[in-house]
């Protein structure tokens, strides 16, 4: 995917002027957060399970090489193959070669952020293989030719009206000439059109939420069932996964599974959790004849043993963005790359370079909510701070921005002092705002707020304003 992270400020400004987007983001803010709270409250052990999940992931990372080798052994023993790929390019080419080996014309696809990371769809298309997204959200944005705006709800930014228009435009060729407006009718239409595609596809590509070393299994967690039809009907199943998805045993998987759906959508459990192991067995009546796991590194191995290692615990649940006031304001596309929200702000600079992604780690209000809800207890604010310091040290960005960062960094390392300073500064800020009551620049907040107006504080701090949801129009 083409990155526009360097233009974060412009992206954000545009996003904030988009009325439909604001409505959609309001739904994220209230819907997902309430559901997570309720799910967490219903399970008294939730906090302890988060600790247990974190500990499992830490243990894995200390022994990552061992578990990956064991995983590969188990995959091979059950008829599959693991393709180790250092770079997105290698992963794309491996997948293309596999598709060509069965003369594939179409490939159905379950939802995979790694496929986005390696920009798989445009590559397959350019090489004469039609990728067909089957997750409803992914399908919608594929029709719209847009990137996902949320890691678990790729089309959260789309309104029902926009979906109606898209379906009418693209389903005309299937004889669907009536514009549907009822959501159930829209879902039915997509279901009916995709049904035959599952059967006709030569290859099914899915992602993975977990890889299990004990059994060589890859696991997907979905609600729609599309990932299952994608992998059980074609003759070849390709799994694309990044290497940090590995867990030791089924029991470890179960522990993390208990916090995944609850953190993500607030469900107790997603509808379909599917363990796929090797190829169709003798006597089986269905299932793929070939099973390939494309294991992507893309710089992750370099994170081991560094300040960034803890990011490798991420299970891509989306809770951090669901609870992020910045995400609620600008949406996912503003971040300009595959991973938005706090996890994106912490991860994208590693993939894109700090020059390109330098605004993202500044997109923070210090509310700390992301770390509070992250099931894997990843210290996201600390990692964002690390990147801001890197940006400063490496002298990326214009000089004025760097001066801001230095000033900011001093306070950022001392949160209590930061809060005190902002409280004291309120009077100054109000004077700056003057009669208009609107600020056009917020000295302490740095970079990303430059492009917008903030209401002048009325006796409350910047962070409190964010918390209370008070924002500029």
């Amino acid at each position: 995917m083409q990155t526009t992270s360097h233009a974060f400020k412009d992206n954000a400004r545009k996003a904030m002027a988009d009325v439909d987007l604001r409505t959609a983001l309001k739904r994220v803010e209230t819907g997902f957060t309430t559901a997570r709270r309720k799910a967490a409250d219903r399970l008294p052990e939730f906090e302890d399970l988060r600790d247990a999940g974190r500990d499992i992931k830490n243990h894995v990372l200390e022994n990552l090489d061992f578990y990956l080798e064991r995983f590969e052994e188990r995959v091979i023993a059950q008829g599959g193959k693991v393709h180790w790929c250092s770079t997105p390019r290698e992963a794309r080419e491996t997948i293309l070669k596999l598709c060509r080996s069965v003369d594939a014309r179409t490939a159905t696809k379950g939802k995979s952020m790694i496929a986005e990371e390696i920009a798989l769809n445009p590559f397959l298309e350019a090489n004469g293989i039609e990728p067909i997204e089957t997750d409803l959200g992914e399908y919608i944005i594929q029709l719209a030719d847009e990137p996902p705006s949320h890691i678990i709800g790729p089309a959260v930014h789309k309104t029902k009206d926009q979906v109606s228009d898209l379906f009418l435009e693209h389903h005309w060729k299937y004889g669907r000439t009536e514009r549907q407006t009822d959501p159930q009718a829209l879902v039915n239409e997509a279901r009916e059109i995709l049904r035959q595609k599952y059967v006709d596809a030569d290859v099914g590509i899915t992602g993975a939420n977990f890889l299990v070393a004990e059994t060589g299994s890859t696991i997907i967690v979905t609600n729609e069932g599309n990932g299952d039809l994608t992998q059980m009907l074609p003759k070849m199943h390709i799994v694309i996964a990044s290497l940090e998805k590995i867990v030791p045993t089924l029991d470890d998987m179960a522990t993390i599974m208990r916090v995944l759906a609850r953190s993500a959508t607030g469900q107790e459990m997603s509808v379909y959790t599917t363990l796929s192991t090797g190829t169709r067995r003798e006597g089986d009546l269905d299932g793929p004849e070939e099973f390939h796991v494309v294991l992507l590194d893309n710089g992750r191995s370099e994170m081991v043993g560094t300040e960034l290692q803890e990011l490798l615990r991420c299970i891509r649940c989306g809770a951090c963005m669901n609870h992020c006031p910045v995400y609620h304001t600008v949406g996912g596309h503003a971040y300009g790359w595959v991973y938005p929200g706090p996890i994106g702000a912490a991860l994208d600079p590693h993939f894109l370079g700090i020059e390109e992604a330098r605004h993202l780690p500044s997109a923070s209000t210090f509310c700390g909510k992301c770390e509070e809800v992250c099931p894997m207890r990843i210290p996201l604010p600390r990692i964002m701070r690390y990147w801001r310091e890197q940006a400063f040290e490496r002298r990326v960005g214009p000089p004025l921005e760097r001066a801001g960062i230095r000033f900011w960094a001093f306070f950022a390392r001392r949160p209590a002092l930061y809060r005190l300073a902002t409280r004291l500064a309120i009077r100054v800020l109000r004077r700056l705002a003057g009669r208009r009551g609107v600020l056009t620049a917020l000295p302490f907040a740095g970079g990303w707020t430059d492009g917008r107006d903030l209401p002048a504080p009325e006796g409350r701090t910047f962070q409190e304003l964010w918390k209370s949801g008070r924002r500029s129009p």
Binding site: E45, W84, D135, G153, V163, N226, T265, V271, T274
Partner: protein, 231 residues
Amino acid sequence: MTVSSREKILSGIRRGLKRGPLEGSARDAVEARLADLKRNLIPARGQLDRAGQLRLFREMAEMLDATVEIVDGPDAVPAAVDGFLGRHNLPKTLRMAPHETLEALPWAEKAPLLELNRGAARVEDQAGLGMAFAGVAETGTLVFLSGGNSPATVNFLPDNHVAVLRASDIAGAYEEVWTRIRADREPGTLPRTVNLISGPSRTADIEQMLIKGAHGPRRLHIIIVPDDEAA
């Protein structure tokens, strides 16, 4: 190409961990953890007594919009399946997993008009009948293992999914099911597909409205056969 990437990735990880390949006691410790298959924290709700588990299973499954029916015994299953099809005005045709337990039921006698088709499911099938390997009370989840007697397509392709579950196969937590699966297999192996299914298919991808029947079955009907005192 792949060999060198494999080496590159593994040595990169080892460099980060400041060690070579795991050896000696460090390796033994990790091997032991893997061999132990120790369970982690299991929520209290997954550790009820048998009657409690059955109750919780039903409650959770119904919360997920599955329908649950407890029949008198195995002989009552064909009529229950027949009744389900009738209630929803479905044709009296069924794609059935050729599972020995299902085959042994008195179909001809109790549901003579029902047409049974064995084998993998097809796009045109409207209803599928499968035999669950287990149920998990903690979330109302069904577990299916793929195999010659249990094609995974039966659980996904037809619009209507009917599952037969023995009450004694209801476990409290997922971990008990892993133990059962491991019991009759070579260590480190699984069937091609293990499906954990919690309710019928759904999506919230359009304005976060909950819509049922996205790609998998629109309906899930669970028929529980009591085969122990708890039920």
